[in-house]
């Protein structure tokens, strides 16, 4: 009798944990979408600072970072701080290092990070027109990412949750 209760409890735990994993994966998808949407807003602010206010990168990153807040806002603030420190490194080098140093909680794929690094490659180079074109190109990339994440949001959420539950059930049956 005791053995049966133990088995039932084990089965329930397996199902719960597998389902939890499924829900977590679905939530991560949503979080990824939110992060990219937030980043898009920040890039728009940055564009305004550079193109309309004609601010240098230090100032543009600082103001955008303060307005936006969050982990991504912190990234911009740190970049601004590094630039102000004038330690003799290139902008692209500082930008890359700060992106690599992003905390793990920030929901960005390695492809997103690569694209974000690409933005820094040409920022500061040549005239205002060049800055605007560089930012617009990156915004296009962000729009594509957002479209993909939105289009597959429901499908992926459903897939991850049902896979989690089904996986839990499957494991329970196999182990029973």
């Amino acid at each position: 009798m005791g053995n049966t209760w133990l088995r039932l409890t084990g089965a329930a735990l397996v199902i719960l944990s597998c389902s939890g994993l499924g829900f977590y994966m679905a939530a991560q998808w949503n979080e990824h979408l939110k992060t990219v949407e937030h980043l898009r807003k920040m890039i728009f602010l940055l564009k305004g600072e550079i193109v309309y206010a004609n601010s240098p990168l230090t100032e543009a990153f600082e103001r955008t970072g303060r307005k936006a807040g969050g982990q991504m806002g912190n990234l911009f603030l740190k970049v601004s701080e590094q630039l102000m420190g004038q330690r003799g490194e290139s902008f692209y080098g500082i930008w890359q290092d700060e992106i690599d140093g992003l905390p793990k909680e920030v929901c960005l794929s390695s492809e997103d990070k690569q694209n974000l690094k690409g933005l820094g490659e040409h920022l500061g180079y040549l005239d205002i027109g060049m800055q605007e074109r560089t930012i617009l190109l990156y915004l296009e990339q962000l729009d594509l990412t957002i479209d993909y994440l939105r289009d597959h949001k429901q499908e992926k959420s459903r897939l991850y949750t049902s896979l989690g539950i089904m996986g839990g059930l499957f494991l329970t049956i196999v182990m029973y």
């Binding site: 004609n54 990168l57 004038q86 003799g88 205002i128």
Partner: protein
């Protein structure tokens, strides 16, 4: 940040190391010059020196550190805060102003379009003029600039280049703005077309121009003077290096509005001004009430002569030093 550190951070890594080893008082350094494939030079106490790779100063060319193209490029990146695009207008005029109020003069290849200079590329020559504020240098001329301790005269400072006319103007603005026991403080509007007077960095003046001073930075003089009158109601307007026909119209506008004007102009003497068509008009119409002529003998801002609107000499320095002559000598420079 110390003045030296603030300045050194503007340079490429190699040049930073050299300047870090330099054992000079940076308050006395006037200029640092960088030219591609040429020696690193600095002007210290009015003397030109080469800098060696080990950070010593030398008069021997063969010991000088030679600057590469990449070092100049890197230096430009730091001077512009990695944002050369934000200095497009300044590049067209050939200078940047950086934190600390230092002026960076640049030269290279200009790119032209229909409206004139579009930008500059291949920047190969950089001249860093270190900002120096000499507080109190305008004190000797204050009694001549004020009328009845309450009113300021329309004043024109005449000076050859590098004699300290902007330094003198800067201190005059500060003293008029702050006021003192003898003279009351006044609202002063400054049109700083080339950021030389206030040396504004991100909107904040790096030089002390007084507590009642409003600065219109990087604004063309003629437009700026009119804007200030309409918006800030100054009692005194100060501008640097007047000389164009447009400036003359704006000067007349300022004077008709009841504002007092303090301006500077390039020239070695009053006679020199008479050779220039626009400035001759100023003299003939007796627009300015005081003409302060500087010379390059001795210290920066050395006053040579002071005249009134009719050309009567109010002051003359003798060769042994400044000598105030309160008794007005009846010699006429013009008119």
């Amino acid at each position: 940040m110390e003045r030296k550190d603030e300045l050194i951070n503007l340079f490429s890594k190699n040049i930073r190391e050299i300047l870090n080893r330099v054992a000079l008082n940076f308050d006395e350094v006037q200029e640092i010059r960088l030219r591609v494939a040429a020696p690193l030079m600095l002007v210290y106490k009015n003397e030109e020196y080469y800098l060696t790779g080990s950070g010593d100063i030398s008069k021997k060319l063969e010991e000088a550190y030679i600057i590469s193209k990449n070092e100049l490029k890197e230096t430009m990146e730091y001077m512009s805060n990695y944002s050369l695009y934000a200095f497009e207008e300044e590049l067209k005029q050939g200078f940047l102003t950086v934190q600390g109020g230092h002026r960076i003069g640049i030269a290279g290849k200009t790119i032209l379009d229909e409206s004139g200079i579009k930008t500059m590329k291949y920047i190969s020559f950089i001249n860093i003029r270190l900002s120096h504020q000499v507080k109190g240098c305008a004190s000797p001329i204050l009694p001549f600039v004020y009328k009845n301790h309450r009113e300021v005269c329309h004043t024109l400072i005449v000076s050859p280049p590098r004699c300290g006319k902007t330094t003198l103007l800067r201190d005059l603005i500060r003293q008029i703005s702050d006021g003192s026991r003898d003279f009351e403080g006044m609202n002063v509007g400054v049109v700083d077309e080339r950021s030389e007077i206030g040396a504004c960095y991100q909107g904040a003046p790096q030089n002390d121009l007084g507590i009642r001073t409003d600065i219109l930075d990087c604004c063309p003089k003629a437009k700026g003077m009119m804007m200030l009158i309409r918006t800030m109601s100054p009692r005194v307007i100060a501008v640097d290096e007047v000389g164009s026909r447009e400036d003359l119209d704006a000067i007349e506008y300022v004077m008709n509005c009841g504002c007092k004007l303090i301006a500077t102009v390039h020239g070695s003497s009053i006679e020199d001004l008479r050779q220039k068509p626009v400035l001759r008009t100023l003299l003939e119409e007796r627009i300015f009430e005081r003409y302060i002529v500087l010379n390059n003998l001795g210290k920066i801002g050395n006053i040579d002569q002071i005249f009134d609107s009719r050309g009567t000499q109010l002051y003359k320095a003798n060769i042994f030093g400044a000598e105030v002559r309160p008794d007005r000598q009846e010699s006429r420079a013009y008119g």
